[in-house]
């Protein structure tokens, strides 16, 4: 589905070759600063590499319509953005941005249930806790029904038990619809349990250092 070839982005990321498979759950791990978020941003085309090419379904991402591409390949940032307004406003924000029809409340509530967020649609979103906001943002991307979900630490603000429930439920939904999920996590438990394809990123600077050492 995705292929990264000879990628370099500033002094953050360098990848010779990386292939990400369709309809699979790929989990990106690596220490802080190894460029995990940068990989997701490259796949979402929120940034372009300084060198190399990113292919999506065999086509160079740089030749695709960027907005249309992002509607197929949705990204959720680590500290989710919560827009002013209610839970409903936040759920439909993504649909409005991607110009998709807004479903009725039953569908919105179902999305909340699938991330274990038991809140009314009328609740003021900014009053939710960090963990609740993270789940709200996850429900928001789930509603978008895109081909690919890029999730950056989607459970970082949740305790282990809730994280497990939420991620398991999200991935179940995604698998049912044959979606591709690429997720960054620090949680070894999540990575071990759900990774169909584990991807480990090495730190760019460290590689340079090692190379210099060897040389």
């Amino acid at each position: 589905m995705f292929e990264l070839k000879d990628i370099r982005y500033k002094d953050i990321l360098k990848i010779g070759h990386l292939r990400i498979e369709e309809n699979k759950v790929s989990i990106l791990t690596g220490e802080s600063g190894s460029g995990k978020t940068t990989v997701l941003k490259l796949l979402n085309h929120l940034i372009s590499p300084d060198e190399g090419t990113v292919l999506y379904k065999g086509k160079d991402i740089a030749s695709l319509d960027p907005v249309q591409h992002r509607r197929n390949v949705i990204m959720l940032q680590q500290m989710p953005a919560i827009f002013p307004g209610t839970v409903r406003d936040n759920l439909i924000a993504g649909l409005m941005f991607s110009e998709k029809p807004v479903p009725d409340d039953r569908v919105l509530e179902e999305a909340l249930h699938s991330v274990y967020l038991r809140k009314s649609l009328e609740t003021v979103a900014e009053g939710l806790s960090g963990g609740e906001q993270q789940r709200l943002a996850l429900a928001r991307v789930l509603l978008l029904d895109s081909d690919v979900y890029l999730l950056d630490e989607p459970s970082s603000a949740l305790d282990d038990e809730t994280a497990d429930e939420v991620i398991s439920s999200f991935l179940k939904k995604a698998k049912q619809k044959n979606k591709t999920v690429i997720m960054v996590t620090h949680s070894k438990q999540i990575a071990d349990r759900y990774a169909e394809v584990p991807v480990h990123l090495e730190k760019y600077n460290q590689k340079i250092k090692e190379a210099a050492h060897e040389g």
Partner: protein
């Protein structure tokens, strides 16, 4: 001759500087280090106005289309430069271009409409009309655009995460920055709306005061003032809408990515 304007003698004028002396004494007494600014401000105001008085006298006596156009261009350039100077953020060269073009197009269009549809004077370059009206239109557009630029740039810096989040979800750059753009426009035109609300009750604007002092009937002065307020509202909103519509685009590249 109660309609005739009272000519202020030099000594009478100098006595008005007593206000500045009082101000200086107060800031010194309160320990506020502003004497230098007060002095520079007073001196600049005096020199600039005296020069403007002589230049305008000359221009009014020798009206010439090129001279009027030259003064208009000078005012425009000064106003654009002043916007750049009054913004607390670093401006990209593309944003500066948008500011300059929106100021020029917005004020020029409003001025042309105002002069040749509303007032209808001839010859078209009559400096006695063109220069003061251009001054009011450009000056107000300058204040509006400055507020708009400040809000837009500040919003793009502080709300970058929100804009980025919207892009990640498949928003167009227009949709992702809509709220910031609306807020910038709102903040830019609010002072103009507020001044229309207070007009005639809270204060009499400078142009009207000047006309009344020079013996023109308050009703005629009011006619002009209403027209000029509408012209100002038009030029501020036209310049600012041009600015925000094109200004937000400078924050993104052609791949709809934040620069």
């Amino acid at each position: 001759m109660k309609d005739k304007i009272i000519d202020i003698s030099l000594w009478q004028l100098l006595s008005a500087y007593l206000f500045i002396v009082i101000l200086t004494v107060i800031v010194k007494w309160r320990g506020i280090a502003r004497e230098k600014e007060i002095m520079i401000g007073t001196l600049r105001m005096t020199i600039q106005l005296v020069l403007a008085g002589y230049i305008l006298t000359y221009v009014f006596k020798h009206p010439h289309p090129l001279l009027t156009l030259f003064i208009f261009a000078l005012m425009e350039i000064f106003a654009i430069y002043n916007v750049f100077k009054r913004i607390k953020y670093d401006l990209s060269s593309s944003l500066k271009k948008v500011i300059a073009v929106s100021m020029t197009v917005g004020t020029l269009a409003s001025l042309l409409f105002f002069n040749y549809v509303v007032i209808q004077f001839s010859p078209w370059f009559e400096p006695r009309y063109v220069i003061p009206i251009a001054g009011m239109i450009i000056g107000n557009a300058m204040t509006g655009i400055t507020l708009g630029v400040n809000h837009l740039v500040e919003g793009m810096e502080k709300q970058k995460r929100m804009v980025e989040a919207a892009l990640m979800l498949g928003a167009t750059t227009k949709a992702a920055s809509k709220e910031l753009v609306d807020r910038a426009f709102d903040s830019a035109i609010l002072p103009t709306i507020n001044s229309m609300v207070g007009m005639g009750i809270v204060f009499l604007p400078g142009m009207m005061t000047g006309q009344i002092l020079s013996g023109i009937s308050p009703l005629t002065a009011i006619e002009y003032q209403i027209a000029i307020m509408l012209g100002i509202a038009g030029s501020v909103s036209f310049s600012v809408i041009l600015f925000v519509q094109y200004g937000y685009r400078t924050f993104f590249n052609e791949r709809s990515q934040l620069k």
